[in-house]
Amino acid sequence: MIEVSNLQKTYRKFEAVKGISFAVQAGEVYGLLGPNGAGKTTTLRVLATLLKPTGGSAQVAGFDVVRQSLEVRRSLGIVNGGMKVYDKLTGYEVLDFFGSFYDLWGPKLKERIAWAAELLHLEQPVLKKQVKDMSTGMQQKIVIARAILHQPQVLLLDEATAGLDVFARRALLDFVKQYAELDKTLVYSTHVMSEAEEVCDRVGFIDKGSLVFEGSLKEALELGSGNLERAFIRRLEEAA
């Protein structure tokens, strides 16, 4: 579902991503783990066609991220921690707006909104509120609902729990597991190891733009004697 091969991204002279490769299959949650500034967000933005790679290639749902960007965008959803939706619009209006780009109208749109709302534990009255009047957790749920409304095959989550309280964070982690069960492909980018440990099937450690470890969660845990955080630190120190 996702094929990344020798992907590179350079901003002027700064190499943000230095030729990384990985693949994620359907029904799998892939954890892209790394410290701040490691290249996680850049990698996901390239996969979402928001940035163009300066080298290598990437395919999402069989489409090339450079040559078939619109097809890629139809096949994926992206959520990141800093992402917001229009605060003057109601939750329903936000979903109506984004749904229209995926040919979701009328009864079909209502059906999808109901589906997303159920999956994210969003109550219908909340959708009638303007986004600015919602709690941070609710706002984040609207951001996610917007990203999954078209039931994308691939979902990219980048520091999606940033700023959420414990309840909203729990709801999001539950959602990740449930969405993967629908045979969807997820990339879960975070620097919080406990979250990765809970939801990921496979993980990749990224540091300074390079992938320094890739394997199953079990392999990663073995590397850290049962502790993912220890494995992460050890691998990064070895790579340095």
Binding site: Y11, R45, A48, T49, L50, L51, K52, L70, E71, R73, R74, L76, G77, I78, N80, G82, M83, K84, V85, Y86, D87, K88, L89, E93, F97, F98, S100, F101, Y102, Q130, V143, R146, A147
Partner: protein
């Protein structure tokens, strides 16, 4: 096309729910236009009338009794003073008149725009003129000469302007100014919100991740700005027409007094255009709107934050003052057709010419074609900005 409309709808919906923006773009023009047009005229007219009707103190030094009597007839009260300049400066008197060595010197506060002192000076001048005419008439009569010798022939001045130009009056200057002002003012809040505002609030990334070509996102935002510009301009015109009507009815007597027998041109004038003239104004305004909107969106996309975008766009207002100044002196210049290819200046000149009924096909054609070309170029630059990762993710 559907995506463009959806994006425009979303932008407008956000604006409609922002009371502050609604007030400044749609309500304020309706209130402010009649105030701008008629307020100063009424205020000055009333002040001038009151000055004429009431008695003001005028300092005098060495002025003969006959002249003092003439001053009293002109509704000023002469008071003896020691230092005329100081007395006027300190506002003890509105003007001062000194008679020395057979000559009169008149003091008044004549700087800093319309002053009451200037009006009193005019009253004193009138009184002195009347006195002088009487002295001359008496002297001529003593020599057996009639006063008609002073005016061997009459001079009559007639206005040879076109009918539209005569009717337009101040409109010829104000229409281009206000159209341009409100097109820009109305569009700016949406342009800022739809570009730098989206970046700052973190909503742009979600929009860019949707399967919509960038050009459609850009056109959708542009359409929203265009609609707000149009509504703001319509609000201004409505304010002008409705407010003008209200003012004319409520203050008919005062306005008539200010008019002082002159035609309506002094009070703002009235448009006397044929349908083609109105269409030409609309087309010119629409093309200008396209240009200014494309520039605002380009600047907004480049900016990182709301404030930064505003600081880029505000100088545009100042840039507009240059062609407005140019327009004031346009009558002293021999207008060349190529002037109508200069950005912004051409729109001002074209609107001015249309309102005065003096526009030629070449001038209008040049204005429209060049403005469309500039708008296309600005749109292309906005699109290029939108394609640049370092610009879009600059925040």
């Amino acid at each position: 096309m559907n995506e463009i409309l959806m994006i425009a709808r979303k932008e407008l919906l956000s604006v409609v729910r922002e009371r502050r923006v609604l007030f400044t773009t749609l309500i304020l023009p309706i209130i402010i236009m009649p105030l701008l047009m008629f307020g100063p005229i009424l205020l000055f007219g009333n002040a001038a009338r009151q000055t004429q009707e009431t008695v003001q103190k005028v300092g005098v030094v060495g002025v003969p009794a006959t002249v003092l009597e003439e001053l009293r007839n002109a509704k000023v009260e002469p008071v003896q003073i020691a230092n005329p300049q100081e007395a006027v400066q300190n506002r003890e008197v509105q003007a001062a008149l000194v008679f020395e060595n057979g000559n009169y010197t008149l003091y008044g506060r004549l700087s800093g725009g319309a002053t009451q002192s200037a009006l009193v000076v005019e009253k004193v001048q009138g009184a002195l003129r009347t006195y002088k005419d009487r002295v001359v008439a008496d002297q001529l009569q003593a020599r057996g000469i009639g006063t008609e010798v002073l005016e061997p022939f009459k001079v009559e001045t007639r206005d040879a302007s076109r009918e539209q130009e005569r009717a337009a009056g101040l409109f010829a200057f104000l229409i281009p100014y206000f159209l341009i002002l409100f097109i820009q003012m109305g569009g700016m809040p949406v342009a800022v919100d739809a570009t730098a505002g989206e970046k700052e609030k973190g909503t742009l990334e979600a929009l860019l991740a949707a399967p919509v070509p960038l050009i459609q996102v850009l056109l959708g935002k542009g359409l929203a700005v265009f609609v707000m510009s149009l509504l703001s301009t319509l609000a201004a015109i409505t304010g002008l027409l409705l407010g003008g009507g209200v003012f004319r009815n409520l203050f008919a007597a005062q306005l008539q007094a200010v008019q002082d027998g002159e035609n309506s041109a002094q009070l703002g004038g009235a448009l006397a255009l044929d349908p083609l003239g109105y269409l030409s104004i609309i087309l010119t305004a629409v093309l200008f709107a396209l240009l200014i909107i494309a520039i605002m969106i380009s600047l907004g996309l480049y900016a990182r934050t709301f404030k930064e975008a505003q600081s880029y766009m505000s100088p545009l207002m100042l840039v507009m003052i240059i062609p407005i100044l140019f327009l004031q002196f346009s009558d002293f210049l021999k207008l060349q057709d190529w002037y109508f290819a200069l950005p912004f200046v051409n729109v001002m000149l074209a609107l001015d010419s249309i309102v005065k009924g003096a526009a030629t096909a070449t001038q209008l054609g040049t204005t429209w074609a060049s403005t469309l070309a500039y708008a296309g170029l600005a749109l292309y630059l906005a699109y290029r900005n939108f394609q640049r990762e370092d610009v879009v993710f600059r925040n």
